[in-house]
Amino acid sequence: MADLGYICLLIALALSVYSPVASLAGVRMGSRQLVLSARRAILLAPAALGVSTAGLVGAFVNADFSVSYVAEHSSRAMAPQYIWVAFYAGNEGSLLFIAFALSVLAAIAVRFAPDALRPSMPHIGSVLMLVLLFFLAVMVFLANPFARLEIVPPDGRGINPLLTHPGMFVHPPMLMTGLISFAVPFSIAMGSLLAGRTGDEWVDAGRTWGIISWALLGIGLLLGGWWAYTILGWGGYWAWDPVENAGFMPWLVITAFIHSIMVQKRRGMFRMWNLALVIIAFGFAQFGMFINRGGPVPSVHSFGQSTLGWIFLAFMGGTMLVSFAVFFWRYNSLKSAQTLESALSREAAFLVNNLLFLATAFVTLWGVVYPLISELFQGEIVTVGQPFYNQVNGPIFLLLILLMGVAPFVPWRHAGWASLRRALVMPAAAAAVAIGVLLLIGVYIPWALISYGLCAFVTAGILREWARGAHARHRRGESYPIAFGRLIAANRPRYGGYVVHLAVVLLALGVTGSSFYGIQRDIALSPGESADIGEYTVKYIGASARAFPDRTEATAEVQAFRGDTFLGTYYPRRDFYPSFNIASTLAAIRSTPLEDLYIIPGELLPDERTILRVYVNPLVMWMWVAGPLLVVGVTVALWPQRERSGAYAFSPGGLVAATGRRPEASAG
């Protein structure tokens, strides 16, 4: 099995060398045959890497401990379903996974490329395959997942216990796929640039793939938060850890990109800017992989540590250098007549959006590298942790939410203050009412009030827009549900975007609630004793321990009450893995829309007592609701649309764009 996997890895390597050579030679010599065979090589690569992947998974299934990677990351005691997790638990395996994912994405991108991209396809495919080549070369020459051990051990070392959690089946693959998927919009942009197609041909495909990358990585990050919340046992979901940041930064840049690309799509502006953004986004994605592969900063996510990091850094540096060289080589043909009618327009609003997203990405990057700067210049090792990011990025996030409430109602080209004010009166009133109600129920922390006020502001704006659009269609005789459906179908990018914005509001609700109003207590209890936390009473019944070959599971039995009402019995668990000297906890969470009661068991003390850590985390559930909602929004936004069919009809921005009128200008 492993040998077949290795052979297919070599085949994939050959394909990824052949394809760019053949397609570029084909373009130069005008040979259609060569270009076509290069294309077939791209379509074939996923098959080769699929077999390779199956080979490694097969080695796990057969417990083939002669393969070093299998011996390192699994054992006979491991539950069989974790073979999939063990597959990418270390460096070599995750590289294989990344390569496989990239080859699949590349094949899809090439196979389903729109006609507009056809002339630049040889170049786009070449860039994709060169990125793939890097990963394959690293595996073949430096980190072979199929390397054999000379002495076959009787049993493997076992899987890292922190990885034995349902979330691990999807979070790491999603995150890795998300990061590597940035190669696709990057390749589309770079390939078009190399082919001399410097116009707007790449915009639609670039936007589609930008949104796909955005969604994959976004969901990967959310799943990571969910995993941290339910297993890492500190009651939180995001710690601004370097590895988390490394995944977050590219996401921020691609978010800026999928907004500003709309300006090029609709108005043909910001050509250079969008290219630069997509290049930077890929750079950050590579940086993320570098930090993941054992970068210079300590992290709780030290799963795949190795010295490979520096090769990834070189990969990133090389890519950025070449990309910007190409960028400046084509610089002159990229210039577009970029004129802006007004500083109060959708175009300008998107620029502000870009500024804020890039600022957040920069702050995050600064926080990641500052410890190195400090060490270099003052010889002191400092930590840049949560308090820094919360204080610096927090306000920028609030500005972004404010912008999210205003910008969708600023028309293209030129907005009038009067019409904008009319659009915003109702949302502003909703915000005022929300703040008033919160004050009445005792929410006094200013940041929380501002955040919730802004959430109400954004939500009211979006709902108002939907209601007005549906109402207008209703008056033409459509029933409300149909009117609403057709409204959304008429301008999917816009209404999909609104759904995503609502998901972001849900995230903001959860983040704000748990950051400002979370309660936490550590309580030592003997069996039968109880303690109060917030409105809850927690009663410790007792604990039982079970021994397994690789771990002991200590399960606590805890009853929860609110006042006299019995809420239920909960069984938080603490697993201890002696061979790793690691304890992992499985929190018991009672989730309600209003708040979570979250219980983590501590060690059993000799006198039968145990220390329970109990949190009350308001509104966190909404953060997990945001995930599916986000997927819905992205699906709507990406759903294929007939070209411009009535797309303008109900967007106030579109109205002005379509009519070309400048209401306020004529009044002035």
Partner: protein
């Protein structure tokens, strides 16, 4: 709310209402900062926990970590607070023992001020750059606006037709836009 006068009154009331709300927020916050009780002491202690890193575990504060040393440090924090030490004094105690790296964020003094100043400065520079770009793009527009668009006549006709259709669809919108388009309106 559907009538125009209703809306106008509503719009006019907005500003005072929002100002009032803001005032309420500020005053409410002011009254909150009252004397510390035992509850506040625990909150203060947890705030300190979140500002101190666990010395042996990467990237975890003593608030998050469940190691013995973190627990010990949490206890020390509470003891020192109970003895009447301030937040800064408690933090200083740990800095003396473990160095500045024990703090979850660099202190806002000396060289480390750089960590805090760079982000707002960057945002300021970015914002100014943006303002300059917007300004130059607008100037470009004014220059090009003087020249008529090629094929503008045909476009104008088409746009008029679109305009007509849209007015039929959204009658109330049409009314508002009509008002905007009045000269000197």
């Amino acid at each position: 709310m559907t009538t125009k006068t209703g809306r106008a009154i509503f719009a006019r009331l907005m500003l005072p209402v929002m100002l009032l709300a803001l005032f309420a927020v500020v005053s409410a916050c002011a009254t909150q900062a009252a004397s510390p009780g035992p509850q506040d002491l625990e909150a203060e202690a947890q705030g300190i926990d979140q500002s101190l890193m666990c010395p042996i575990c990467p990237s975890e504060t003593i608030d998050q970590s469940q190691t013995e040393i973190a627990e010990q440090m949490r206890r020390t924090v509470r003891e020192r607070l109970a003895q009447g030490e301030s937040r800064d004094e408690v933090l200083d105690f740990f800095v003396e023992r473990y160095g500045e790296g024990i703090l979850a964020a660099p202190p806002k003094s000396g060289f480390n001020l750089l960590a805090w100043l760079v982000p707002p400065i960057a945002l300021l520079i970015g914002g100014s750059a943006l303002a300059l770009v917007v300004r130059s793009m607008r100037q470009e527009h004014r220059r090009s606006a003087a020249a008529p668009l090629p094929g503008a006549a045909g476009l104008e006709q088409y746009l008029a037709a679109v305009d007509q259709d849209i007015r039929g669809l959204t009658a109330d919108d049409g009314g508002e836009r009509g008002k905007d388009q009045q000269p000197n309106g």
